[in-house]
């Protein structure tokens, strides 16, 4: 088990390294010189040159990379070209916003998907089961931002029940925080719950045909009780995997939702920074997203090893 965890850790480090190189490289081939953009439309060539020197974008690429990378390791993302302030505290601030949004969305998606998925599996050859499957198919087809726009036009613009956009930190005014987060969380959770429902359904269906369930039923348990007592733990493993993958996807998907709902999270920060060619900020935000994704995968891999005796055994 320890060997497996060590392997996971090693893979984490290598992927992170490769990601820093890729992100750095991609940012350098984007068209648009950051110094020229910062200098604006009234700039003289001398001014652009001076800003390039100040930003350090005129230095050799390996040097720029090393400065940024060594800073990352120290948790110091550097000073933004455009805002002229430290990037780290700002990213930390925005990361919290995005994580709150995404975590609540994932919880809501699971709350909807787990019972629905189990129900769809148990009633897989009844009309109600087919209905749930059909609805989840439909849910997958509706993009989150579209659902968001629909929610806004109906619930806030037509009915005036909830604010159309904006963000209040939970510590500042909890009631307002909840009112503002309902719509973006619902928009994000909509597609996720549909996806997860299908996974839960197929995972449960699969275990229902396993020998141990037949054994349990032979011992006198009803199909539902057998499933609840012995099946769900096994069905949980594929669902856990999918949930973690989807969690990472959700963080990326939140970029669009954050824009629709004017939520000041990483996504909004990223879009603004890309537009301004604020290279250091873009690199840092992307690396934070990469790190979150990698950490989730690492945690899941480790959990997996702990949870599933077969995987544990295979490594011994």
């Amino acid at each position: 088990m320890l060997i497996r965890i060590a392997k996971n850790l090693a893979r984490f480090v290598v992927t992170f390294l490769v990601a820093t190189l890729a992100v750095f490289g991609i940012m350098r081939v984007l068209p648009g010189d950051p110094a020229a953009i910062a200098a604006g439309e009234n700039a003289t060539p001398e001014l652009i040159a001076r800003l390039a020197q100040e930003f350090g974008t005129d230095r050799p690429l390996p040097e720029q990379y090393w400065d940024w990378f060594s800073g990352l390791l120290r948790g110091d993302f550097g000073v933004s070209y455009v805002t002229r302030t430290d990037i780290s505290p700002l990213v930390l601030d925005k990361v919290q916003v995005s994580l709150i949004l995404v975590t609540l969305a994932m919880l809501l998606a699971l709350v909807i998907a787990i019972p629905l998925g189990i129900l769809a599996a148990i009633r897989h050859n009844k009309p109600s089961g087919a209905l749930i499957s059909g609805l989840s198919q439909l849910g997958i087809a509706i993009p989150g931002f579209l659902l968001g726009i629909l929610l806004v036009s109906f619930l806030s613009l037509r009915l005036g029940w909830l604010p159309a956009n904006g963000w209040t930190p939970p510590g500042e005014d909890f009631g307002d925080f909840i009112r503002r987060i309902i719509l973006p969380v619902t928009a994000l959770a909509g597609v996720q719950s549909a996806i997860l429902t299908r996974y839960v359904r197929s995972a449960v269906l699969e275990v229902m045909h396993e020998d141990y369930l037949r054994t349990a039923r032979a011992k006198g348990l009803s199909p539902t009780r057998a499933l609840l007592r012995h099946g769900l733990r096994n069905a949980a493993i594929p669902v856990l995997t999918v949930t973690s993958v989807q969690f990472a996807a959700l963080i990326i998907g939140a970029v669009v939702i954050e824009r629709v709902f004017v939520v000041p999270g990483l996504g909004s920060m990223l879009l603004t920074a890309v537009g301004n060619r604020d290279l250091l900020t873009v690199q840092s935000v992307v690396m934070v997203l990469v790190a979150i994704t990698l950490i989730i995968n690492l945690v899941v891999d480790v959990l997996y090893t702990v949870l599933d005796p077969r995987i544990r055994a295979a490594n011994q």
Binding site: N42, N165, R179, V262
Partner: protein, 508 residues
């Protein structure tokens, strides 16, 4: 053992679900009213698009910083009124010397900066000299090149000596280059602006909002609303959504005219349409084929029906002027008749130039106005035999790089927002438009050095020459549209300076 772990996990999960559901349903039930419907007479929330990246316009270009900071936090010696006339502000008045080279300003007394420091003639000297120093990085600093030196006569009197007479200089003093700073308040302008204005920065949540608080020690008329929040949105739809759901009171400089209809018909809102300094400029690269041929440029001028462009692309809002000067400038004149819509004449000119069946690449920045305009231009030019290929350029990054800096384009369209920018655009052959300025250079210089009457006459001639040469096609003057709750008054309709002046706004 195994069973107990499972049930404990299930218990935790169950508790989580229940609490989430409770939290979500509980608050839906609690919020039945329209959000933010209660109007507090002492607060105002303004929706804007395009947020400032930092608060320091001395080192950073762009319209968003002066929009929030000028008039509100910073003030100049002079300012513009809504008709575009120069009025005293921190100066009570000024006298010009006989040779028009020196301006002696008398200063308001009892003016304090928001850090408590007194404002006097030394601050004027400091501020103007600083524009000329390396501390300023904004390209607009060149407007101060004409200043030779600044003399402090007394704490309330200061004389600015110019190298040569300049009508344009005093006007520039109404813009951000004329902002007055305190020497001890310039350490962290990006985050902590210090000015003499009616408001001081209270807090700034990056990417979200700027909060301004009215100053109790302000020297002039107290602001009508004490607590103002400027909220920034990514697009126009988000701003009007926020207005509809009651989160904001005013949407200023609205960027989507098609959203106006819904507000015009409702009594709880007011729509204010004014004019701005911005020209929607269809630029033709005067240095490259086919637009290095004046006849081809003229053909485009005749081919384009500017009224149809404006009506289709911008819902009929905006002013048709026919030249690169907004109506609020002193040397404005209506030049719509110089190139009336005449497709036959356009075809004739193209034939004469040997440019029939022309292929042109149209580089369009990714901005709503540009996309809207591009489609109409496309079909109008096609009508006279110019085949337009639309190429999209991300704005600002790619557009600035490709079109503005490298001049790698044939035709483009952009909103030129800078005030009194006709000479910036056309009196510089190295500018991206590439207009040969030999015909206007001397006349423009002469006009700037003469008295006001001759300045206006001279500049009118300059502008006429530029338009006759078909240097670019000014499609229309961008409107300044505000949508506000009905109870708000004192919103300046016209955007004649870069500033959104907040102090005059009040709840009635």
């Amino acid at each position: 053992m195994q069973r107990s772990t499972t049930s404990r996990r299930a218990g935790v999960l169950g508790a989580l679900m229940v609490s989430t559901i409770l939290a979500l349903t509980g608050c839906t039930a609690g919020s039945t009213g329209t959000p933010g419907s209660a109007t507090d007479k002492n607060t105002l929330t303004v929706a804007l698009t395009g947020e400032p990246v930092n608060l320091d316009f001395t080192t950073t270009a762009g319209a968003a910083i002066p929009q929030a900071m000028m008039s509100n936090v910073y003030e100049g010696l002079v300012t513009l009124d809504q008709t575009g006339a120069i009025k005293p502000l921190l100066a009570t008045g000024w006298e010009t010397s006989a040779d028009n080279k020196s301006y002696t300003f008398t200063l308001q007394e009892g003016v304090k900066f928001s850090n408590g420091a007194d404002f006097d003639a030394e601050d004027v000297k400091f501020s103007i000299e600083r524009v000329k120093s390396d501390a300023w990085l904004n390209g607009l600093k060149t407007k101060m090149d004409v200043v030779d030196n600044v003399q402090v006569v007394s704490p309330e009197t200061v004389t600015v000596n110019l190298k040569r007479p300049s009508q344009a200089w005093l006007y520039s003093m109404t813009t951000l280059v004329g902002a007055m700073f305190d020497p001890s308040g310039v350490d962290d302008l990006a985050n902590q602006p210090v000015g003499t204005g009616p408001y001081a920065l209270e807090s700034w949540a990056r990417g979200e909002s700027i909060k301004l608080a009215g100053r109790d020690d302000y020297w002039g008329i107290m602001p009508g609303i004490k607590n103002v929040t400027l909220r920034y949105f990514a697009d126009a739809i988000a701003t009007t959504n926020a207005l509809t759901s009651g989160d904001v009171d005013l949407v200023y400089n609205m960027q989507a005219p098609e959203l106006l209809a819904g507000f015009q018909s409702k009594p709880e809102y007011q729509v204010i349409e004014g004019t701005s300094n911005g020209e929607i400029m269809l630029s033709m690269n005067n240095n490259v084929a086919p637009f290095n041929d004046k006849r081809v440029r003229q053909a485009v001028m005749y081919a384009i029906d500017r009224q149809e462009v404006r009506d289709t692309a911008w819902n009929g809002l905006g002013t048709l002027v026919g030249g690169p000067v907004p109506p609020t400038d002193p040397y404005y004149e209506d030049l719509n008749d110089l190139y009336p819509h005449d497709p036959a004449k356009a075809r004739e000119l193209l034939k004469e130039a040997g440019a029939e069946n022309l292929d042109v690449t149209f580089t369009v920045p990714t901005r709503p106005y540009a996309n809207a305009v591009a489609e109409v231009v496309f079909s109008q030019l096609k009508d006279v035999g110019i085949n337009v290929k639309i190429q999209s350029a991300e704005f600002p990054a790619v557009w600035l790089d490709q079109v503005f800096n490298r001049h790698d384009y044939q035709m483009s369209v952009v909103l030129a927002v800078e005030a009194r920018d006709v000479l910036t655009m056309f009196d510089n052959p190295d500018y991206y438009i590439g207009y040969d300025n030999s015909k206007i250079k001397d006349e423009a210089a002469l006009a700037d050095e003469s008295d006001t009457a001759n300045y206006v006459a001279g500049m009118k001639n300059v502008v006429r020459t530029i338009v006759e040469d078909a240097a670019s096609d000014t499609l229309f003057i961008f409107p300044n549209i505000s949508v506000a709750k009905a109870g708000l008054s004192g919103i300046g309709a016209n955007s004649v300076t870069e500033a959104l002046s907040l102090a005059t706004i009040a709840w009635s």
